[in-house]
């Protein structure tokens, strides 16, 4: 269990993070400048927070009130930077052995050998960092951190500078390590795919604050704020005014601002006519209806007729822009290339589109952020 409740004022940037992480792999996700790296730095001890506390598995790393600030070497965290940061004057073997202490030289050798085996680095142990590839370097960096049996592994966009195939392999290595070693991992990335592949839990940061914490399914399909929806590629986000409420049918009718169309969305407890709400639909959840088939019942509530104004072919999938009225476009639709080919759609074509009831998500826009003091109070009450 990792608890972080810290504040750090850097003048232009203010970090105010309150997190409680369970074991497993946590992805810290956010745009650049959102405070991801700074958060890792405070955990590792590279940056001292202005206030708050950090505790890992019961060990207090930092506590402003108690005046505790554990020195970096005693925190036992493994840290891997975006650049591999291998010691250039040491061989692969010596790099990996660097952090091992208190072992006889035979045991030490044994330990390093095992790690070399595990990280697929055989026959490279005698090489210097400049003699091996980028992916190999990052595997050495991981091995060097893991061999010390850290309490916690902190990875700061470790695969960002690697080619795509190498990156995919390394992600699989990381998943394997997590299963074998049971070491908690905090992984920083701004890559949606990477976050989805790796995460047990995702923490979305924005502007130095926690925007949302949750499982990847939650973050992906139930974003709590508009920002989270945008970061994770929801694309179709609408702001609208409720014009009719029918609780007995479980729905309400929303008139979408600036677009001029109405949509039927799931009823929300306590909603009233005239209220503004925000709802969203992922682009892959919108379907193009085939004229030769009857419209399924669960699609009937939201069927729209309009024109495909633009098609962007992306290889495995394709993006189509659909519009009804005057605006540049209303919906962004993502189709698998297979579906796109079988529909034989051309730009300018008039089509019917629809989306399922369950695909509509009402963004609650509730404030997710706790201040440091508040979080500590909550915590002391629970212990």
């Amino acid at each position: 269990m990792i608890e972080i409740h810290v504040e750090k004022d850097l003048g232009k940037f203010f970090l105010n993070i309150s997190l409680s992480l369970q074991k497993g792999l946590t992805v810290l996700f956010g745009p650049s400048g959102s405070g991801k790296t700074l958060t890792l730095h405070t955990i590792a001890g590279l940056v001292e927070p202005d206030s708050g506390m950090i505790r890992v598995n019961g060990t207090v790393y930092f506590d402003k009130r108690e005046g505790i600030n554990l020195p970096i070497p005693r925190r036992r965290v493994g840290y891997v930077f975006q650049e591999p940061s291998l010691f250039p004057h040491m061989t692969v073997f010596d790099n990996i052995a660097y952090g091992i202490s208190g072992l006889s030289s035979d045991d030490r050798k044994q330990r390093v050998k095992q790690m070399i085996e595990k990280m697929r680095l055989n026959r490279l142990e005698g090489n210097f960092p400049h003699q091996i590839s980028g992916g190999q370097k990052q595997r050495v960096a991981l091995a060097r951190a893991l061999v010390t049996s850290p309490l916690l592994l902190l990875l700061d966009e470790p695969f960002a500078s690697l080619d795509h195939p190498v990156r995919e392999k390394l992600r699989l290595d990381l998943l394997r390590i997590r299963e074998e070693d049971h070491v908690p991992v905090v992984f920083v990335t701004h890559d949606v795919e990477e976050a989805f592949i790796l995460a047990d839990e995702i923490v979305v940061l924005n502007d130095g604050r926690v925007e949302q914490i949750g499982s990847k399914e939650h973050i992906f399909y139930r974003p709590q704020t508009q920002k989270v929806a945008k970061f994770f590629g929801v694309k179709n986000i609408f702001h609208g005014k409720i014009v009719d409420v029918r609780p007995e049918e479980g729905k309400m009718i929303v008139c979408v601002e600036g677009k001029g169309f109405q949509s039927s969305v799931p009823y929300r407890e306590g909603a009233a006519v005239g209220e503004w709400i925000r709802f969203c639909i992922r682009p892959e959840e919108i379907m193009i209806l085939r004229e030769d088939r009857p419209i399924k019942k669960n699609l009937k509530a939201n069927v729209f007729t309009g024109k495909i104004v633009r098609i962007v072919e992306k290889g495995a999938e394709d993006t189509l822009y659909f519009k009804q009225g005057q605006d540049d476009y209303d919906f962004e639709i993502s189709l698998s290339n297979l579906a796109y080919r079988s529909l034989r759609i051309k730009e300018g074509q008039i089509v019917n589109v629809a989306f399922k009831w369950e695909s509509i998500w009402l963004i609650p826009e509730r404030k997710y952020v706790l201040g440091v003091d508040e979080a500590i109070r909550v915590q002391s009450r629970s212990t």
């Binding site: 020195p71 970096i72 070497p73 036992r76 840290y79 940061s85 004057h89 952090g99 202490s101």
Partner: protein, 221 residues
């Protein structure tokens, strides 16, 4: 070769080696402090240590007299406790060479230490090693080239020290007349063949040292 020339040569080497050892020890330590730590008065310390590079050596020598002379700020106490003064001994020549050569070491070493990737130092900390071990196993090996170049330059500078040495060690034949001072004496008393010999020798040695310093700062060992 003339007996006195040989003595001067030996004394110069002896002074330069002793001064370089001091320069390397103190200079590395000071460079580390200046490069890696933040404290009040850091820039003032840097200026104080660098001043001998730009001051006329006679001024540096004058300060040394103020501090270390028999009535100097420190020398006074030293003389009271031990009855010994550093003035007009070969130790004074070492001290003068040390103070004058130190900035050369600090300039090159500080730059070398500052150029070590901060991530490497942080990695070493996270892997459980403290300041000292990190210094010897990461910072030192990676700034070695700059440090060796600094040491070679300091040695050459210490060999050639004249002004400050003359002020504090004097020109006592057979005791404190290092080669540059011996050259001055020979020239001023018209002993041209002796002066020529020493000048040629000195030029060659200094040239060789510059060559070594350049090579080392490019290639390392």
């Amino acid at each position: 070769m003339d007996e006195s020339v040989l003595f001067s040569l030996r004394l110069s080497l002896q002074v330069a080696i002793a001064a370089t050892v001091l320069v390397v020890l103190v200079g590395t330590w000071m460079s580390f402090i200046l490069a890696r730590m933040n404290f009040r008065g850091k820039e003032i310390l840097d200026i104080l240590l660098t001043l001998p590079l730009v001051l006329p050596p006679t001024v540096t020598g004058y300060y040394l007299i103020l501090f270390m002379g028999r009535n100097g700020l420190l020398g006074k106490h030293l003389f009271r406790w031990t009855g010994w003064s550093i003035m007009f001994t070969w130790y004074a020549a070492v001290l003068a060479s040390f103070i004058v050569a130190l900035p050369l070491m600090i300039k090159t070493t500080r730059a070398a230490i500052e150029s070590v990737d901060t991530n490497l130092i942080n990695v070493s900390y996270t892997l459980g090693h403290g300041e000292l071990k990190t210094f010897f196993r990461v910072i030192l090996p990676l700034s070695k080239k700059g440090m060796i170049a600094g040491a070679v330059l300091s040695f050459a500078r210490a060999m050639g020290e004249f002004g400050a040495t003359l002020m504090v060690a004097g020109n006592i034949p057979g005791k404190t007349n290092t080669m540059p001072i011996a050259i001055y004496t020979s020239a001023s008393s018209g002993e041209w063949p002796k002066a020529n010999l020493m000048v040629i020798f000195f030029t060659l040695v200094s040239g060789a040292f510059l060559y070594i310093a350049n090579r080392l700062s490019r290639k390392g060992f």
